[in-house]
Amino acid sequence: MKYWWKFLGIGLLLFASIAALRTPLSPALVHVSPDRVAPGPAVVEVLGYNTNFQKGSTVGYLENAGQRVCGSAEVIDATHLRLTLEVPAGMKDHLTTVGIDQLRYDGALFTEGLGSGIESGACGPGVNKIDLSGVAFTFPNRSILYESIRNLHFHVPMWFAMIFLMGISVVYSIRTLGSNSLEHDRASVSAAQVGLVFCALGLITGAVWARATWGAFWTNDVKLNGAAVTGLIYLAYLVLRGSVQDAHKRARLAGIYNIFAFVLLVLFLFVVPRLNAIDSLHPGNGGNGGFSDLDLDNRLRAIFYPAVLGWILLGVWMFTLKNRASKLNDQLDR
């Protein structure tokens, strides 16, 4: 079968997209109120996400410097719970962790004064009381990211596809200089145009995600600057093509610019950020969680890699279509 890779691409894309949208997040404690406590009786409201708190069998505790204090957990519904307990005096750390069964919210509570440690009681989590049977395959549930973690399977593969297409474009540019062939030049510009489509898609998915997690559509981030420069370079490439009339001269000038720009782009995207020691706000950079700590059991990777391959194959397919269409267009014009 000649076009097996197109079916493979569509299959991977469908699998990755459906899995990315349908897979639930793992249960987590997402909010605790109030956020500071003082020694004495306290009532702490805990909000869970995708949790299944069960009346009568849920254990709640506070943990400070490795020492635990139990409370009585009153379950309101599957995701709401009220923890009543006596906050002990003499906590060693300012930050106290709230735990419900197997789930923990690290550093949920703040205490003003410090002491030399508290008496530990023997309590929870005894057995795993959360029902994970229905949600065996889940995505990590991390604060700030939450549901937006699904964007990993759309936004990031789009950039991979774009870089791949720009790579195709530059390879055809090199061949144009060697052969002086207008066919190669056409392939080069088609790849760059499809790459720009992916650039726009990556920008849009990124901006929407950034609004949800960082609170702004655009920030001064290394990766965002890299994206902006990439877009500008290839728009400039198209402007350069538009301003030369002679086809062979256009092919050569555009090819030269494409090669020069691509090398500088690679330097800008992959070398300058390391040299400048600027950290990105993106997950996986600058102390933000990435694959290595968010995804301890490779659940994200199982969807992410098929998504990358799927988007790249879709991009290549779009490139071949675009190339054929512009070839037909040229013949019709003549």
């Binding site: 420069v229 500008l232 400039a236 350069l240 610019y257 090669i259 020069f260």
Partner: protein, 244 residues
């Protein structure tokens, strides 16, 4: 002028050690001297570049008066220098109308032309950068240099000037060949100059803060590396640009 030779068609031909031999220093020296002679004959070119810088600095002076913070002072200086570089280097291939280009084409290796032009542009940019710095200091005050390591700062300015020249020489050639002068050059050049600009601005900010050489040398190394890569690329690609 050097001996006429058939123009290069395949720049990669020959074994690896022939690369250095293909750099024809005699031709390059001749071409640089030609540039100097032409510029001495048309002094208005240099006067124009200087006037551009002085006007730009004066506009900034009117807009901000004085009392800039170090970061803003540094940013403003590099923005002025960036525009001065575009203005100065855009004319670098403008002289090449059909006749003169054909004449050069029959006489010398195109790679000598790009190397000579890049070298001459680098010298131009270094002189222009230092003159801009003098005017800038005169008008906007030098209080921001109090903590600076002047050696580092001047080195950053010189490296920045050379860097602009090395990135923009090929771009200026492309824009001139496309027959659409400075407008096209700005569009093509701005995104490509950004990596260099970020490095050099960071380096000169560090120099203004007076950090140790061990901290700043990474940036200087990066700028030199960037210069070498862009010059090499220009050297490889320029013969294709010249072929018609």
């Amino acid at each position: 002028m050097a001996v006429a030779r058939p123009t290069c068609v395949r720049p990669y031909a020959g074994s690896a050690h022939s690369y250095l031999r293909t750099v024809k220093f005699a031709e390059i020296t001749h071409l640089v001297r030609l540039e100097v002679a032409l510029d001495l004959r048309q002094r208005a070119t240099w006067a124009g570049m200087l006037l551009y810088v002085v006007s730009a600095v004066y506009v900034c002076f009117l807009a901000v008066k004085s009392g800039l913070g170090t970061a803003t002072w540094n940013a403003l200086f590099w923005i002025i220098l960036l525009f001065a570089a575009f203005n100065a280097l855009a004319r670098s291939f403008q002289r090449e109308d059909g006749g003169r280009q054909l004449y050069l084409y029959t006489l010398v290796d195109p790679r000598s032309v790009i190397l000579a032009r890049a070298f001459y542009n680098a010298v131009t940019m270094v002189v222009l950068s230092l003159l801009s710095l003098a005017v800038y200091l005169l008008l906007l005050g030098s209080s921001n240099l109090d903590n600076a390591d002047m050696g580092q700062f001047l080195f950053a300015v010189v490296l920045g000037g050379i860097g602009f020249a090395s990135v923009l020489t090929l771009i200026s050639a492309i824009a001139a060949r496309a027959g659409n002068g400075i407008g096209l050059m700005a569009i093509l050049g701005f995104p490509l100059v950004l990596p260099l600009l970020l490095l050099v601005m960071r380096a000169s900010k560090l120099a203004l803060d007076g950090v140790a050489w061990s901290v700043i040398s990474t940036y200087f190394g990066g700028i030199v590396l960037l210069d070498l890569i862009t010059i090499t690329l220009a050297w490889i690609l320029f013969p294709y640009l010249w072929r018609d």
